[in-house]
């Protein structure tokens, strides 16, 4: 117990815990919209592009002689992530089929650009490791404030506009026929995803960011049947795995980002395995589809003695 108190009073851990808590709440909120839009991999695409932003920030910082030379890495990541997400959204709007391909090209371009630029900046690809896999123990006080501000913005928009973002994510065609600003709302989701990627970068790293957005949602949708509750459960799971994972690394020397993601997936596996046992009183459903007959059969009145056709009485 005293060990727990020690951890909570450790200023390094305090900052890390605050960051983990905020990211754990907000990443699944954005992830719920992405899953609803069937864009679960968008976060990955943005994460890869953000790596180029990190390297670009580094390059500019080094060129300007700033100390430390990665001071512009996070602003660079924010800019690149937002630009990348807007680009993906534009491509998706142009032609639906090529969205998948555009995402793939962004994956490769993002990583290649990042490694190339970091070399030009005088670093090695090893310098990118902290960004690829997270470095939550090195969170500074100003990092915490940036995280607070960005997570506040994500939650404000993500929860405040939930009905509108749900409408656009659920049925874009109906949203258009309602005269909603569909383009702006889609952009809002894309930019939220970009901001989430950059705040979660510190906690789990760019390569694992998307897991924190998607896996809690996968757990949530197993146990609920409403959008609102899925989002709620996902956020709770997000917080629990982030804080638990981080706490474990206080005593055991493992990568916090990887541990958090492994924990989330473990929760998913357990819930998925237990789900059939816990399944709530699901009413027996007639498995036959409700489609009118294609062929003419004797009208219902004629065959009084005929056996009952339908499953329901």
């Amino acid at each position: 117990m005293s060990g727990l108190w020690e951890m909570v009073t450790d200023p390094f851990m305090q900052r890390a815990l605050v960051a983990a808590l905020l990211v754990g709440v907000s990443a699944p909120v954005v992830g719920t919209y992405l899953v609803q839009k069937r864009l679960a991999l968008l976060g990955d695409g943005i994460g890869h592009v953000a790596l180029t932003g990190v390297a670009l920030g580094w390059l500019v910082g080094a060129a300007m002689g700033l100390v430390p030379d990665d001071v512009l890495a996070v602003p660079g990541a924010v800019l690149a992530a937002v630009a990348g997400s807007v680009l993906i959204e534009v491509v998706r709007r142009r032609g639906r089929t090529s969205g998948d391909l555009a995402l793939a090209i962004l994956f490769y371009g993002g990583i290649a650009g990042g490694v190339l630029l970091i070399g030009l900046a005088g670093g090695s690809s090893g310098s990118l490791m902290a960004y690829l896999f997270g470095s939550i123990s090195s969170v500074t006080l100003s990092d915490v404030w940036v995280t607070v501000a960005l997570c506040g913005l994500i939650l404000l928009v993500g929860l405040g506009l939930r009905a509108a973002l749900f409408s656009v994510s659920h049925d874009e065609e109906f949203a258009m026929s309602s005269g909603l600003p569909v383009w702006a709302l889609n952009m809002a989701v894309a930019v939220l995803a970009a901001l989430t990627v950059t705040v979660a970068m510190r906690v789990v790293g760019l390569l694992l960011v998307s897991a924190l957005m998607i896996v809690p949602v996968a757990i949530g949708q197993l146990v609920t049947r409403s959008f609102r509750r899925t989002m709620l459960v996902a956020s709770v799971v997000g917080v629990v795995v982030c804080v638990t994972g981080l706490s474990i690394t206080y005593w055991h020397n493992v990568s916090p980002g990887a541990l958090i993601v492994v924990l989330a997936i473990a929760v998913y596996v357990v819930v998925a395995a237990l789900h059939p046992l816990l399944a709530r009183r699901s009413a027996p459903v007639d498995p036959h589809p409700d489609i009118p007959d294609d062929v003419a059969v004797a009208p219902a009145g004629a065959g009084r003695g005929a056996p009952q056709e339908e499953c329901t009485p």
């Binding site: 009905a163 109906f174 026929s177 309602s178 600003p181 959008f227 489609i291 007959d293 062929v295 003419a296």
Partner: protein, 288 residues
Amino acid sequence: MTTLATDPPSGATTPRDAAVPAIEARDVHVRLGASPVLRGVDLTVRRGEVVALLGANGSGKSTLVRTLVGVLPATAGSVRLFGHPLGNDVPWGRVGYVPQRVSAAAGVPSTAAEVVASGLLHGRRLRLPRGWRARVREALDLVGLADRARYATHQLSGGQQQRVLIARALVRKPELLVLDEPVAGVDRPSQEAFAATMTRLVAEGMTVLVVLHELGELAPLVQRCVVLRHGRVVHDGAPPTPQPGHGGDAHEHVHPHAHPRTVQHPENVRLAEGPFERPDDTDEEVAR
């Protein structure tokens, strides 16, 4: 069951004149990819009218209604809703659209109530209005699904899912209802519930444009039929007389698709002047 309407229409300035048509489309052309799906369609739906849009698969019916409600851009021509050209000026709160049902559940489960609530957002209204729960319940009650509000949509039957989509269009209390094949592949109880709902709405003055394969249960309500063929209007006038016995209250419509070549298909009745062209589905697929 409760009644609808009576609320003053939400949305932009209301042009007082009831003479302005609810829908006014002039020479609408729509091109999807390389294929011209609509080739100069004129369509006017006046207030309080019930118009059925008929035509074979691939004739452009769905494309036309999707263009009318602003989902697809028209390549040429103009569309006005309540006198306003499509865009931000249209009083979107007065228009309700029921798309063709898309089967398969979305990525995240959502309850019937959540889906219906999204119908309360329109134009620049991005947040749910006060008292939205009561209005959602009222709309679900109107389609006979009040007891299914908390069910996930994927737990509902096809017909019930379709009724959820109708409730989503009705929840904003529209004056114009545009429906795309509302009874296609729908079980009989849902078809009957739908016809009953429509009868009541029309009696209360609802303007309706409905895409249908055959008039079926709605025959007594439909005042005018517009028939599309290969992207053009080939008939605009009175609905064809239904076969004796069909369409009456006593008639039990057991097998809607049993006799595809009977009078129920108006294009087979009055429009025999042109050669009967190949029934292709290709346009329809492009439209999606």
